[in-house]
């Protein structure tokens, strides 16, 4: 048999799909033909390339992504099923649900907060803390958290930025600086996961004009279909009066992903 014909059988030979007779044909040929034999050798040699293990951080990143995604979803669900009166309750609920590590971390931050309060506050330390001091400590703790969020959003690692975004959701009121950082993250972060998480975090603050504008503007800028769909969904959920026109313009974007385009059309019909 010619090499050409053997070549047709070879891929199945290599994956062991041939019957006995055909197997023999290939083996008889390769015993005589050095070139074809070498092809089999090369295929076998490929087994020398090792299976590489992803870094240990990979699993942690996945967990963080899953957690951020699910928290984002449950936030949205609770927002949908009656916002009034549930905010405080769901906050405590969320607090209880968070992993032990995060709780331990908050405790550590509280200690830092107290020390920082005593150190910078330069007020005499009384054995009995009065109400004012507790309130001041609360404010300091909040400020510390915001600082942590801002610092984490600047991190190199996407999972740390993700964590930063989910931390920002702890506070009922969005600090203007944190909001600006989240909007910046939504526009420019390199990781789709982080941008999506930022969008989830911002979605609770539809009332804020900057958030509103930021989300509308993001629609034109985003390239990832995932983020585009999330933006469209959010605008639909907000029943945004300016959204219809923007979405119509957006639909005209050249090379738009068909799924995204379909979603935008659906949103326009829903908004009208």
């Amino acid at each position: 048999m010619k090499c050409e014909q053997i070549g047709e059988l070879l891929p199945d030979y290599l994956q062991g799909n041939l019957d006995e007779e055909q197997n023999e044909i290939v083996e008889l040929h390769t015993a005589q033909c050095a070139d074809c034999r070498d092809e089999v050798t090369i295929w076998k040699k490929l087994g020398l390339l090792p299976v590489e293990q992803p870094s240990a951080a990979s699993r942690a990143r996945f967990e963080a992504m899953l957690h951020a995604y699910q928290t984002g979803r449950s936030d949205r669900l609770s927002a949908r099923f009656g916002r009034a009166g549930r905010a405080a309750g769901s906050n405590i609920f969320q607090w209880l649900r968070t992993p032990v590590g995060v709780v331990a971390w908050s405790a550590a931050l509280l200690v830092i907060g107290i020390f920082a309060g005593n150190y910078f506050g330069s007020r005499p330390t009384h054995p009995v803390a009065n109400q004012d001091e507790i309130a001041a400590m609360h404010t300091e703790l909040t400020n510390m958290r915001q600082l942590v969020v801002l610092a984490m959003l600047q991190q190199q690692s996407a999972s740390e930025r993700l964590q930063g975004v989910s931390w920002s959701q702890r506070e009922e009121h969005l600090d203007p600086q944190v909001m600006a950082a989240l909007l910046h993250t939504l526009r420019f972060d390199g990781s789709v996961d982080v941008r999506l998480a930022a969008l989830n975090a911002l979605s609770r603050h539809a009332g804020q004009p900057q958030v509103h504008k930021g989300v509308l503007d993001a629609l034109q800028e985003q390239q990832s279909p995932l983020v585009q769909v999330a933006l469209i969904d959010l605008l639909t959920e907000w029943r945004d009066p300016d959204a219809t026109q923007r979405l119509r313009n957006f639909e005209q974007t050249p090379n738009l992903n068909p799924t995204v385009k379909q979603r935008a059309e659906w949103a326009v019909s829903k908004l009208n």
Binding site: Q15, E39, L48, L49, V51, S58, A158
Partner: protein
């Protein structure tokens, strides 16, 4: 209480043995945490798919994360009864294509990612592995991909055909051509016809095309 623990343990065991498709159906029905089991099964193969294809470990890890995020995001589009493995590789290919569409600055890459050294390997084996790695990296993307899919990801030819959107016969022909080219390149590097110097081979990168459904 004890009974409860046992049932939990049994559930865990059952989950570890469950077919991918059943687990994906659970994810689809809202049990996001079940995705962890699928992550354990697939993240190493996917990472190897990307790292052998792109030669970039950091990018490979990012893309693996992207795949699992997409699974969550598009879980409703998983059709019950369809093979999960085919679906996840479809997502994996598309995630890579989208990445290169977004960051076209990576028009060339350095094929210099040294293969991980395995301590038990003999010196001859590790040298051969390195030459093979270099030969693989010199091949055009499309040929390298089909070799990786069939040799390292252990996908059957009919699965590859569906994934690439072509005929079974075409897949076999392309695999054979890829092997031929790899053999030639490998022997040329080995005999010194191609400079063995690590810094010599920068392959022109042609962005891959998308195939199949948009996921």
């Amino acid at each position: 209480m004890k009974e409860q623990e046992r049932t939990d343990a049994e559930n865990d065991q059952a989950m570890k043995l469950a077919p991918d498709e059943d687990l994906m159906l659970e994810v689809r029905n809202g049990a996001g945490e079940t995705l962890g089991v699928l992550f354990d099964r697939y993240h190493t193969p996917l990472y190897n798919f990307y790292s052998k294809l792109t030669g970039d470990r950091t990018l490979s890890e990012d893309l693996v994360q992207e795949v699992f995020l997409r699974i969550l995001k598009y879980r409703q589009s998983y059709q019950p009864g369809t093979p999960f493995r085919a679906w996840i590789y479809q997502i994996a290919r598309n995630a890579r294509v989208d990445h290169y569409r977004k960051t076209p600055k990576h028009i060339t890459f350095e094929p210099e990612m040294a293969p991980a050294v395995m301590p038990k390997d003999s010196a001859q084996h590790s040298e051969e592995a390195e030459l093979l790695h270099r030969a693989l990296m010199r091949m055009p993307e499309e040929k390298r991909e089909i070799l990786i899919l069939s040799r390292f990801q252990e996908l059957r030819y009919d699965e590859i055909a569906r994934l690439l959107g072509c005929e079974l016969g075409t897949v076999k022909t392309r695999i054979h051509r890829a092997i031929q080219e790899l053999r030639q390149t490998f022997r040329q590097i080995e005999s010194g016809m191609i400079n063995k110097d690590k810094n010599s081979g920068v392959t022109k990168f042609v962005p891959p095309r998308r195939a199949g459904n948009e996921v």
